[in-house]
Symmetry: C2
Subunit: 139 residues, 2 copies
């Protein structure tokens, strides 16, 4: 687990540091977590880490394809480690809870825009908004 993370880092030309491993583990352990939650988790695990190191690691890991970032309207950025499958997200309008939703049809159903205005499109990001089961119960 840890060693494979280390391997993934090295493979991409990155140094292996305690901070980066802990960030990876924190995100793996709690999907859709914020930078602050990562910070707290990492602090609980390796003692101290600076805010900057968390942001640096997260940005780097997103850039290198080890993590994925989602930035829903009205909340701070969330991170997850499901990077190789095509899935989207549902967010509860009331409590903000975020869940994964697998793509409905095939691999990238929404990538076919009718008129693309000349853009070269490489990604379709879909966020579903609604109300989660928990909040549905208490109106």
């Amino acid at each position: 687990m840890t060693s494979s993370s280390a391997h993934q880092l090295r493979e991409r030309g990155l140094q292996v540091t305690a901070q980066r491993l802990a960030v990876l583990r924190a995100v793996a352990g709690r999907p859709h977590c914020t930078a602050e939650e990562v910070t707290e988790a990492v602090r609980g695990e390796i003692g101290v880490i600076s805010r900057q190191a968390v942001y640096d690691s997260l940005n780097l890991l997103v850039q290198k394809g080890l993590l994925r970032r989602i930035q829903p309207a009205g909340s701070s950025a969330l991170y997850e480690d499901r990077v190789n499958d095509n899935h989207h997200h549902v967010i509860c309008r009331r409590c903000g809870q975020t869940a994964d939703i697998d793509c409905a049809v095939g691999a990238a159903p929404c990538l076919n825009a009718s008129s693309d205005s000349g853009f070269r499109i490489d990604e379709a990001e879909v966020i579903y908004w609604g109300v989660c089961p928990g909040c549905l119960g208490q109106p």
Copy 2:
């Protein structure tokens, strides 16, 4: 034009003020503009307006369905006045330019998530990411 905006405001139980009309006109005249751009536009039109009044107006108008807000990752919120048609957006990864994209198939093609995790979904927000024609020319 102006009188119909005034009518729309009254219809929703809102008072008609110079600030709100100017905000509406600013957004109508420049699609996908930020709060700051609205502020500048309004200042050019009616002299002065406080930042707070701009935010209040925008939030209220979004809430009342006269404007639509989009909040792409990595940029501040954008506002537009196309509220009655179902369309999405393409954003250029390089320059941030935003354009409208009409829905590919029917009215709401992406609203059918396969497993909705028990959420009651009411909206599917789609953002396409890519590179705009202008930026494609200069790699």
